[in-house]
Assembly symmetry: C2
Homo-oligomer: 649 residues x 2
């Protein structure tokens, strides 16, 4: 059914070609998103491992801005002592990270063409699993955008508390900028992202180094500043530890992005991609561990209006220029991390649309060669989420990671099947690694579901099956429609019939002359019709006679039918006439509506848009063709010139 | 140009006739406004003088609810002593009322067909004066609706102070109900209005009688309750008196309505109408004087949350059942007074539209035989006003009456001209009466403008010329358009040309078969075209070959043109092709777009609406005709039946 795609729905914007109807709104839009691009204009530059960090790993790297925070927020409930569990929990998460990195290195080997969870599970586990992967990923791409932007704005408001009141508007403004950049097609301008990414990584490394070298640090003069009551450690239950672990695993989202993006790398692709995966794992692991150690050492707890990361930076280097530079950088890289989701979801949606699981619109590139529908859909969903949670990262964390880890599990399981089916050299070892990944991530997913269910994870549990239901219904429709349209069959031969053209008129004029000319060009069976509403006591007879006389004195060679009506609508009698005509004749019927179109938009409301009313009404009659005959009215400069039709004859 | 009217823009709702496309929203709307009416279904019942009060005089009668209030509000600024001026000012207003009543009795004689200020000044004073009258009346009809509703709700909230917070929503709800009743066409159900009108008139008469008979009344135990500081009378300036007079003259609006509505009366029309005018004048005069005497006697001043009328009623009969019955009745009759403006403005707008001063849409009756556009316009304007002033009557009073009095002046002056021109028996006496009316109302208008200018009257001074400017611009456009369309000329003969039909296709299917059949029915010059976006590195060649092979094996007898494009839009190359075609050929060109239309609305988003994109783009090319060929898809019940076209051939 996707063959139908080419038929419908490209953006109308580039149907301009210098014509008059171009409005200011359209020009403004062009200014924002740029002019149409050729497919070959789109750069396909290829990246190195270092460039791979800003291009594919920002989602994962920037999660240090909210992962440790999420752990601390959970543990703080049990009192200050519980905060000592931050470090062991972080170690567990880093261990999980290591397993994921090695699993995904194998995904790169197996799918050098880009191994997204949707594609891998479709190939190896079947349609059902691939839909589960697709739905999970849709949910998590949306969450990534919302979480990253919210965390970025939290970093900004930590540094500049005066902005706190405007959290949601700032979030939405950042989202709008990201959306516009993506509609322009600048999403993969990864090289431009290199500088902030490096400032971010190196800056945090330095912060951690300073923190570790100066045990109570240069500025950390008040250890134990946290105001949380010291409860006994016994009150920290296993459930709480698992909760903290689940919350912290939000730091692992995005680890899969490099494996999805293998085709972006320079040759040898797989090798470079695998190296990038290790690079990402190492940096992320070091950052997570370093932050955990410092948070533990400095007794950092949740503080309103101050992110954990902001507190760590403040403790380490004080609130000088370095603090502000890093805070703003964090905001920028988090916005860029949201941007990487905009690279992911539209492509996923286009794959789903090609497989008939989403409307075909999602598979169409717009005139900037981007999947505009997917970009819009993601922006709208993320905006709704941000508004719903009031721009608060911690409200979103319980929903987060479940989708990603479902994707992890499915693609690792798929890989196991893949190795089993293909059995390359050393397949047992490979299958074992991916098997471990699958089991561990499956276990993590279950832990997430149990520990976070009441805190919001139920939303995901509702949303994912809803998406799957939607996908299958759409798929069913496209299958039925393809049947009805007879795709992949040779249809019968077309056959011609004579055509009767009906021209609704109101008053003899050049417009009617033009319409009758157009009608006679189509068929010699033309009927002009006029509706005359009966106006009580206003001499309908006279009006009728006047019209007949006018027509007779013009004598255009076409009969005029007068349709009297007691109702005020002039459309209804015309429709009745057309229905009667199609009952009595086997001929094809076409209604040709004359329309005067002033060249200035502001005059349009002065014409009653009978053509729209009639066209809408005739839509219910698929056997009747409807067309408009336009006569442009050029006002007021006469020399711009409407031809006098009498000169033509 | 108004002959064009019949052509365009009747409501699409009654294009239903039992077809499938009827949505729930449409059904709900039908439920609210009722099904279409024949012109002769609309009752033309004729009324007696007593029925004339609710039908035509409510605006004037109900102004006792805000007129005295407006006087007191102005005088109170100068202190309690100034309140003694209420009575003399009211006497002056009642004298003006008497002059108006006698002037309008003569208007009835001169214009038994209904003598609105617009019609009278158009006939006697020329186009300029009639536009001034039209613009003034538009402004004041809107103000009447807003003032009446706001005063009605003020009466309600005086009785039930708990409702004060919801003032604006209650105003808008009442407005919505009135609008819907008018869209149903129940505006002239005047007989139903008789009961509340009589309760209102008789109730207030009794209140006044009680107040006058029992000097300090049954319940008026606390005379002088007003808390306004007693200033010396000397501080009351002439300006203040004039201001109070101007404000009080808002009570005289609506006196002209009977003269406008003469055709509604039973024969002998003029006589009955003139009697009604006197009846109205007497009742209104008595009520105004009575209220002024009581307000003076009981030292009634402005009190927040309590209208003056509410205070008078409370003083007279106490806050028992009678108080509540009267308060609610006042709300009802004020809403009904707003309703009479809905009788006036749409008719005025239809006259302006017939004279080409407003869009012709305003001259069209909708399928309930009412001027729906005028009703909507009035409701929207009044709603905007009510929201802008927060439902406060006193904010609107300074804007009010200027328009009405301008209309008074123009129609009285017009009458003087009328008598002068026709010179019937006793024309000098008649001209003298109308001349007096013209001079007095002109003087009042000037007083209003001076005294109320800074309090809001400037809005009217801006709005009226703006409307006049709008009217003349619209008039100019219609004159130019009529020229361009060659109205009142016999156009040249139509002439036929051969037609080339272009059918954009995407993939061989039954839909394309149907479209090609339709195209061959129109012309034997049919070209099928297909746009193929060049997808870098995705085997465009293969795709092209596949399409060519498919077409060749179908062999529908029509050539297929492949349009390659480097851009992603499939519309642009098609438009370029059509442009090229129309450059190279003199033939008429028609684009026939195949569209699959699922019968269930929820499936529509699954089809990309390429037809809309293409139709919109082709609108800029008036020489190209565009039509859709629809193929309905019936889902999923196959037996509802799509015919297999192979069976037909």
């Amino acid at each position: 059914m996707s063959g139908e795609d080419g038929q419908d729905g490209r953006a109308g914007q580039n149907a301009q070609g210098g014509h008059a109807g171009q409005t200011m709104a359209r020009s403004l839009w062009r200014l924002l998103v740029g002019s149409p691009l050729r497919a070959r204009d789109v750069s396909r530059e290829q990246i190195t491992p270092v460039e791979g960090l800003p291009a594919l790993s920002l989602d994962a790297l920037t999660s240090v801005a909210y992962g440790p925070e999420a752990i601390i927020a959970v543990l703080a409930v049990a009192g200050a002592t519980a905060l000592h569990l931050v470090l062991p929990i972080t170690i567990a998460i880093v261990a999980l990270l290591a397993i994921l990195v090695f699993s995904y290195r194998q995904v790169i080997d197996a799918y050098p063409g880009g191994g997204g969870a949707y594609a891998v599970s479709r190939d190896n586990l079947g349609a059902g699993a691939s839909l589960l992967a697709g739905a999970s990923l849709v949910v998590d791409y949306t969450l990534t955008v919302a979480v990253s932007i919210a965390a970025g704005v939290a970093s900004l408001t930590s540094a500049f508390p005066g902005l706190t009141g405007a959290t949601v508007p700032i979030c939405l403004a950042i989202l709008a900028v990201i959306m516009l950049l993506n509609l322009r097609g600048l999403a993969d301008a990864a090289r431009g992202f290199l500088l902030p990414t490096m400032v971010f990584i190196i800056g945090l490394m330095i912060i951690i180094a300073i923190g570790l070298i100066h045990p109570l640090a240069l500025h950390a003069t008040q250890p134990g500043r946290s105001q949380i009551p010291a409860k006994a450690l016994e009150t920290v239950s296993v459930l709480l530890v698992l909760k903290a672990f689940s919350a912290g695993c939000s730091a692992l989202t995005g680890v899969e992005a490099i494996a999805n993006g293998v085709p972006l790398f320079k040759e040898p692709r797989a090798k470079r991609a695998k190296f990038t995966e290790v690079l990402l794992g190492s940096i992320l692991g070091v950052l997570l561990l370093g932050l955990a150690i410092l948070a533990d050492r400095w007794h950092i707890g949740p503080r309103s209006g101050q992110t954990v990361l902001s507190q760590v930076i403040g403790e380490s280097v004080g609130r000088g220029w370095a603090y502000y530079v890093l805070s703003v950088t964090i905001t920028i890289v988090l916005a860029l991390a949201a941007n990487t989701s905009f690279g992911g979801l539209p492509v996923l949606a286009s794959l789903l649309a090609r497989d008939n699981y989403l409307p075909h619109l999602f598979a169409l590139r717009d005139d900037r060669q981007v999947f505009a529908s997917g970009i819009w859909a993601l922006a709208i969903l993320a905006a709704a989420l941000l508004i719903a949670v009031d721009g608060n990262t911690l409200t979103l964390i319980p929903l987060y990671a479940i989708g990603v880890f479902t994707g992890f599990t499915l693609s690792q399981s798929g890989l196991v099947v893949h190795w089993w089916r293909n059995r390359p050299a050393g397949w047992q070892r490979r299958a074992a690694i991916n098997g471990t990944g699958a089991v561990v991530t499956a276990a993590a997913t279950v832990i997430f579901l149990i520990t976070k269910f009441t805190e919001g994870a139920w939303v995901v549990v509702v949303a994912v099956p809803t998406f799957i239901f939607l996908f299958t219904r759409i798929h069913r429709y496209y299958r039925l429609a393809a049947d009805l349209l007879g795709f992949d069959q040779i249809p019968g031969q077309p056959h011609a019939e004579p055509t009767i053209v009906v021209v609704p008129v109101a008053k003899v004029s050049r417009l009617v002359q033009r319409a009758i000319s157009a009608a006679l060009s189509i068929s010699d069976q033309v009927i002009a019709v006029i509706s005359i509403p009966e106006e009580t006591g206003e001499g309908g007879e006279d009006k009728e006679r006047k019209i007949r006389d006018e027509w007779a004195s013009w004598n255009p060679g076409v009969p005029l039918r007068l349709l009297r009506t007691e109702y005020s609508s002039v459309a209804a009698p015309l429709l009745a006439f057309v229905d009667e005509l199609s009952k009595q004749h086997t001929e094809q019927i076409m209604v040709l509506i004359p329309v005067a179109v002033p060249d200035k938009l502001r005059y349009r409301p002065l014409h009653n848009h009978f053509d729209l009313v009639l066209t809408a009404a005739l839509r219910d009659r698929p056997n009747v063709l409807t067309a408009r005959v336009e006569m442009p009215l050029h006002l007021p400069a006469r020399h711009r010139g409407i031809k006098d039709p009498r000169e033509e004859t």
